[in-house]
């Protein structure tokens, strides 16, 4: 069940979820178009490729991408997870597990570019895995957010296994 206090915030939360969905979808397209989803392409993106005359990425270029993401991604995750926890009174272990995967994927995704470029290029598949993991877990969080703002009759059957029982939520609210 959803915390009844969420109902008043349905419109802003729905708008936020729609915009985050667009952020994640466009992020996936940008990843696919700039790097691609196989290790070889990711390596070529960071290390350069003679065949395409692509130069290796500079430290300044990597930082230019990483720094805005170091603010935006944690902020996005923090708010999204906060809203899901507020709406459902999340069960401790499944919530923490999925949140941990999300945070881990985000950290690896941002940091892997530097590691691939300057230390271990063979870690390129890890960058792809982290990105896919982040997208997949964010999809799960967004579905939970959507379930929180759906009309009550349809919501009952859609709330997921991460969510606490009504009694547990009542305890949390107290």
């Amino acid at each position: 069940m959803v915390d009844p206090r969420v109902a008043r915030f349905s419109w802003p939360i729905a708008a936020f979820a729609a915009m985050v969905a667009i952020v994640m979808a466009t992020g996936a397209v940008l990843f696919a178009r700039k790097m691609g989803f196989d290790g070889g392409h990711v390596r070529a993106f960071y290390l350069g490729a003679e065949a395409t005359f692509a130069p290796p990425r500079s430290l300044a270029g990597l930082l230019e991408v990483a720094i805005p993401h170091l603010l935006a991604v944690p902020l996005l995750l923090f708010v999204t997870l906060h809203l899901v926890a507020f709406a459902f009174g999340a069960r401790r272990r499944p919530f923490a597990l999925l949140a941990g995967i999300t945070w881990g994927c985000a950290a690896v995704g941002i940091g892997a570019g530097f590691v691939i470029r300057f230390a271990w290029p063979w870690l390129a598949p890890l960058k792809v895995a982290a990105f896919v993991g982040l997208e997949a877990t964010m999809l799960a969080w967004l579905l939970l957010l959507a379930a929180a703002v759906l009309p009550p009759a349809r919501r009952e059957s859609r709330s997921g296994g991460l969510t606490a029982s009504g009694a547990a939520r009542s305890r949390a609210a107290r």
């Binding site: 206090r5 008043r8 915030f9 419109w11 802003p12 939360i13 729905a14 708008a15 936020f16 729609a18 915009m19 985050v20 667009i22 952020v23 466009t26 992020g27 397209v29 940008l30 178009r33 700039k34 935006a72 902020l75 996005l76 708010v79 906060h82 507020f86």
Partner: protein
Amino acid sequence: MRFLVQPHPAALDRARPPVRAFLAFSVLLLVGWAASRAAHGALTPDGLARILEPSPGERFGPLALWEEVHQGAFLYGFLLLTLGSLLVVSPVAPGLRNALIGVATAAALVDLLAPFLPVVRPGFPGWAALRIGAFALAMVALLAAVVLAWANFGREGRRTGG
């Protein structure tokens, strides 16, 4: 978050100054955003077409389009969530509040997605004007939300519920 879900008078009084500071920065963001688009020529149909219309053979549109939508959705998302939540805990009529957030969200979606029309259907007429109009509407709705939140957040009337 506490002052949003448990709007006690003392908490609201303490929250008002930082909320107003945030609202002032929101206005700066909206003005800056519009100025940035103007500076890039993105507030005229010709300028917008030059920046975002796909070149022949560019099946998925220019990368600049995807990057702009990526960043724009992030800004819209946080503005809609924060301003909408502040209006929820202010003494503003629910109908007006929902209409404002609904119009801002719809206009933002059109602003973000209209440039994909010529990608999906090359030569689609009027997409640039549609985007400019939607951006203007989104800005006006968000500015109105800022003004309403500035004037009403923490006022006595709201403290009875929402």
